[in-house]
């Protein structure tokens, strides 16, 4: 019985760590999709870019882990600005098909470029001493890196909640998600909001990508492999909802991890069945606005 409880806690812990990664990467996508109505399949490419920027910073420039993580997020956020300005902006009013194709095209280009510079195999970094091994949390002993990931995730949730619920910019973004034309007509500069949110979302994705190197592994196929998961988090959670993205990431992360441990052959099956079920009943997602 104790054995069982230990295994359950360990699976739950891994699942939550995975969920935090999914949340950090996907929440930016959820907000940009809610705000701009853009089906951005290239969001994972920004996460991947974050991972590779981090690898380069650490291996080529010798930047320490934590600084590299923060720098990767900032660099990718800056890189994403011209993409929003010159590519995405042209298609805000176009149909989903054009948006899907444009962003898939960007994913292909990103994958090819990264394969060209870094090779097709998985890259790795060495994490600092304090993130290696195990850590005792009082109620059990857990892998230090996953504990760190969960901590970062929790900090991000609090920061996002504060940013969205308690700051003027957050209020403007919420207003624009709810009703863009009305927001515009009361003088909110929606164009500027678009750039800020897009850069912020891409930066978050890069942060998640940097964190993911150690847990999910980082290779040029990252953007396509996890694309479906990011989309599921967004669609199931509901566009533009931070709470929704969090709940969906938690559900997805725990189910997927448990499935891989308990039923390796059919675990993924269950996730898609749950996704379809939720979307059939609530097409706008768990916390989306109808």
């Amino acid at each position: 019985m104790e054995q069982f409880a230990k295994a359950a806690i360990s699976i739950l812990f891994d699942g939550v760590a995975y969920a935090m990664l999914l949340f950090i990467i996907s929440v930016g996508l959820s907000i940009t999709m809610g705000l701009m109505g853009f089906a951005n399949l290239a969001h994972g490419a920004f996460a991947m870019l974050g991972g590779y920027v981090m690898v380069s910073l650490m291996l080529k420039a010798g930047v320490p882990f934590l600084l590299a993580l923060v720098l990767a997020a900032i660099i990718v956020a800056l890189i994403s600005v011209p993409f929003e300005r010159y590519l995405y902006r042209r298609l805000y009013k176009a149909g989903e098909l054009d948006q899907v194709l444009l962003s898939i095209g960007l994913v292909f280009m990103a994958t090819a470029t990264i394969t060209f510079f870094f090779g097709p195999s998985t890259v790795s970094i060495s994490v600092p001493e304090f993130l290696k091994g195990q850590v005792n949390l009082g109620f059990g002993i857990f892998p230090a890196y996953r504990t760190f990931t969960i901590a970062v995730g929790l900090v991000m949730i609090v920061a996002l909640w504060y940013g969205f619920e308690r700051t003027i910019t957050g209020a403007k973004i919420r207003a624009a998600v709810d009703n863009r034309r009305m927001a515009q007509s009361i003088g909110i500069d929606v164009d500027r909001l678009f750039v800020i949110t897009f850069a912020f979302g891409s930066g978050l994705a890069a942060l998640g990508g940097g964190l993911a190197i150690e847990i999910l592994g980082m290779s040029p196929t990252f953007a396509l492999t996890y694309l479906v998961f990011f989309l599921i988090v967004v669609a199931v959670g509901g566009l533009g909802s931070i709470r929704g993205a969090f709940v969906a990431a938690l559900v997805l992360g725990i189910i997927d991890t448990a499935g891989k441990y308990l039923w390796p052959d059919g675990g993924a099956f269950f996730i898609y069945a749950v996704t379809i079920g939720i979307l059939l009943i609530k097409p706008e997602g768990l916390f989306g606005k109808a």
Partner: protein, 337 residues
Amino acid sequence: MTDTPSDSGFTPDARLYFRAREGWRWAEALPWIVAIAAFFVFPDYMALGTQILIAIIFALSLDLILGYAGIVTLGHAAYFGAGAYATGMLSAHLGWGEPISAMLFGGLVGAALGFLSGWVLLRYHGLTLLMLTLATAILLMEGANAAEYWTGGFDGLVGISIWPLFNHFEYDLWGHTYYWYALAVLFCCFLVARRIVHSSFGRSLVGIKGNVNRMHAIGTPVHGKLVKIYTISAGMAGIAGGLFAESNAYVTLDVMSFARSGTVLIMLVLGGTGRLYGAFLGTVVYLVLEDELAKLSPEFWEFGIGLLLVVVVLFMRGGMLGALDDLVAWARGKGKP
């Protein structure tokens, strides 16, 4: 949808107008002449040629729902894969290898699946529909992975043995038999598709694509029509899948993968949606380029196709055929003072 006489530019007699639209043009013989000529010019490439023809059937089926009815799907490979597995399992488990009936069985299974899933999914639209089609296809793939006893799971379905066509023409190593077989099937599928898009049913689909609210308002049973075309399209995709299983004698999980759904979409968009022949041109260009460029450098190919997609979306909304149309219109405009 009936065109109102007040719309300018139409011949007053609607019958003449539609006859002029539907009539065969000389240019339409071109793809078929090319396909037949290709057999004599590149006899060593007929295995690739067969795969191209199969991909054209698949892209054509997607054009029916995407180009005409405006249904955006990221999971069309579900029906291709269902057809491939149906045909494959018919031979591997039940020992029935008659190619034409086995292929039609694949089409039937694809159509049945298309009807069932379409009935449910086509009530949704936008991003939700995108996600639902995507998830359905992956769900099916995971199901095929789990049902290892029937499908061979991750290792693929082996033991497919197809009888000679008409009990006479053997399968040959160079793919000559299957090239003609696939070409004949493509021609039949094309005739069906052409008939559909020029029928009043086809016109009503275009109406739904253009303005679904107005079609509701004039009393069109939108959902029923969408399910109908979705079923036909899924059946055609199933036929393509069946042909694929027969020509390769091997089926793996990637017949239903997201990559295949994405690739067929890309092929069609490159060629041009909503014009039937876009499926031909896009598929040929995509697969021939892939065959040539991927040999040189896979990254180069991947970057190129990505760039091409971005360019098509931003500057060539009608795909290559659309650009050709524009070019012809521009040349004619120049020619006439």
